[in-house]
């Protein structure tokens, strides 16, 4: 199975290559040159710290999912804004680097990082053991909880009240992982599993339509939606599905850049500029 998959991928690459030369998109010499350049680049890129290269360019590229309010998203003027964006702007301003914001598809984030298209992943990126194997994380810069949100006046007051109720969450989110750490509780839900939606937005709309009784989501996201829809409509339960932390992901060899960001974030916590940005997006 594995082998045939590999053969298929190689076959496809060969074909595409064949087509490119057939169409004449690149002549032989240019291709050869590109190949040499690439291998020359790729070899050291595997181990070498790219800090000097970034310094020389004066620019650092941050990869983010621009659909992810309130951490990184587009405002009505199509400008990318958000808590993470403000924080990153300040960090790199202090280090005389220009910040380039590159929207990426979230499922491709590690591929983008390791291909060198972006220099970091900074977008409510939860620190997990699996991800630690692929990327180097900074110290946590923001705490997050997996909170339970209900409609105001709901009879769900605690976690145990969720038994026999319909509970919604986003597919592939850490909310689902957090719930699955309590399999007994999940089995007691109406349907025996959470109702999964493509986005949190849809989960919240389903809650509003009263087709589900509760939504489990990142606290930062949940608070943002509640603010958008009116705080009096929803309740966040005191009990939650556990804590987690957001970090910034770098290529494993980029230690200098990582240390620089960690140090600047520490400075910003001390001088209060971190709190100012926090209050701007999440209130007190």
């Amino acid at each position: 199975m594995r082998k045939s998959l590999k053969t298929a991928v190689i076959l496809m690459l060969v074909l595409i290559l064949g087509m490119i030369s057939l169409v004449g998109c690149s002549n032989e010499a240019a291709k050869q040159e590109a190949l040499e350049k690439e291998t020359a680049q790729q070899e050291p890129a595997a181990q070498e710290d790219s800090f000097e290269k970034i310094k020389a360019k004066g620019k650092v590229v941050m990869g983010l999912d621009d659909t992810f309010a309130p951490m990184g998203f587009r405002d009505e003027n199509n400008k990318i804004v958000g808590f993470d964006v403000d924080l990153a702007q300040e960090v790199f301003k202090r280090n005389d680097l220009e910040l380039v914001l590159q929207p990426i598809d979230w499922t491709m984030k590690e591929a983008e990082l390791n291909a060198g298209n972006i220099d970091m992943i900074w977008n409510a990126y939860t620190i997990t053991e699996e991800r630690k194997e692929k990327v180097a994380f900074t110290k946590p810069y923001l705490d997050n909880r997996q909170v339970i949100v209900t409609l105001e006046g709901s009879d769900v007051k605690s976690k145990s009240d969720l038994a026999g109720k319909k509970v919604a969450a986003q597919t592939g989110s850490s909310a689902v992982d957090a719930m699955n750490t309590e399999p007994e509780l999940v089995k007691s839900f109406d349907g025996g599993e959470p109702v999964l939606f493509d986005t949190n937005n849809e989960a919240f709309m389903d809650l509003e339509a009263k087709r589900v009784d509760a939504v489990v989501a990142d606290e930062v996201l949940a608070r943002y939606y509640i603010k958008q829809k009116g705080a009096d409509k929803y309740t966040i339960l005191d009990e939650d599905f556990g804590d987690e932390e957001y970090g910034i992901g770098f290529r494993k060899q980029d230690k200098k850049l990582l240390e620089m960001v960690d140090k600047t974030l520490d400075d910003m916590r001390k001088d209060g500029s971190y709190d100012l940005i926090y209050e701007k997006w999440f209130g007190k």
Binding site: V9, L11, M12, L13, L15, I16, L17, G18, M19, I20, L22, V23, C25, S26, K31, A34, L35, E38, T39, Q42, G63, D66, T67, F68, A69, F73, R74, D75, E76, N77, N78, Q102, P103, I104, D105, M108, A111, E112, A115, T199, N200, N201, F204, M205, Y225, Q228, K229
Partner: protein, 214 residues
């Protein structure tokens, strides 16, 4: 509500710009390429026929989304690196040229063999025979099928999100997530419908122009 939609427009229009760029570039490059693919497939050179058939099989046999991912993320491994936009265009062109190639092949094959003999008798070179006699008739035959593909292409452009390009549907999703509302997605739907309406009208006009036997 009306005011809200007005405020959505700038972001959606800049998404529309990307969508239209992908659409037109793909069309302009893949249609001539499709003719070459058709000719390759009908060629008498066996290895060329085999290669073209293999190419068509791969392009039609795998999801376009996968092809974009392979070209943008896979090709750098073997030393060929494209920027986001060129990578997306390359994937679209290769994919659509395969479909167009098969449509054109059908068109060319449906023309009576006697016309080639007639052209020969009249002293046309093979190249002239193709451009002056076969091609115009082929266009007439394939127009409805091409219209189908072109309309599919409008909606397929939304796949470029995978390399981080902000096209129309993505712009709508961003606004939808930001404002916790379905309205932006509905506006996006109206945009696509309007595009399709224009294209349908254009192809209707083209078909009228080519309906010279009626």
């Amino acid at each position: 509500m009306f005011e809200y939609i007005l405020r959505l427009l700038p972001a959606l229009l800049s998404g529309l710009e990307v969508t239209l760029k992908v659409f037109f570039l793909t069309l302009v490059i893949s249609i001539p390429l499709g003719i070459l693919v058709a000719l390759g497939r009908l060629s008498k050179i066996k290895p060329l026929v085999f290669l073209v058939e293999l190419y068509i099989w791969v392009m039609r046999g795998t999801p376009l989304l996968l092809q974009i991912v392979v070209i943008f993320f896979g090709l750098p491994i073997v030393g060929i690196t494209f920027d986001r936009f060129p990578a997306a265009i390359l994937a679209f062109v290769l994919n659509y040229a395969a479909y167009f190639g098969e449509i054109f092949r059908g068109g060319i094959e449906s023309i009576d063999k006697g016309q080639y003999d007639a052209a020969k008798v009249l002293g046309f070179t093979p190249a002239k025979t193709f451009t002056r006699i076969i091609l115009p008739q082929m266009i007439k035959i394939v127009l409805p099928s091409v219209a189908n593909e072109v309309i599919t292409l409008v909606k397929d452009t939304s796949l470029v999100y995978v390399v981080g390009l902000g096209e129309l549907l993505r712009a709508g999703k961003i606004a939808s997530n930001r404002d916790a509302s379905l309205v932006p997605l509905i506006v996006v739907g109206v945009f696509y419908l309007a595009l399709t309406a224009v294209l349908t009208a254009v192809f209707q006009k083209l078909e009228e122009r080519y309906s010279y036997f009626q």
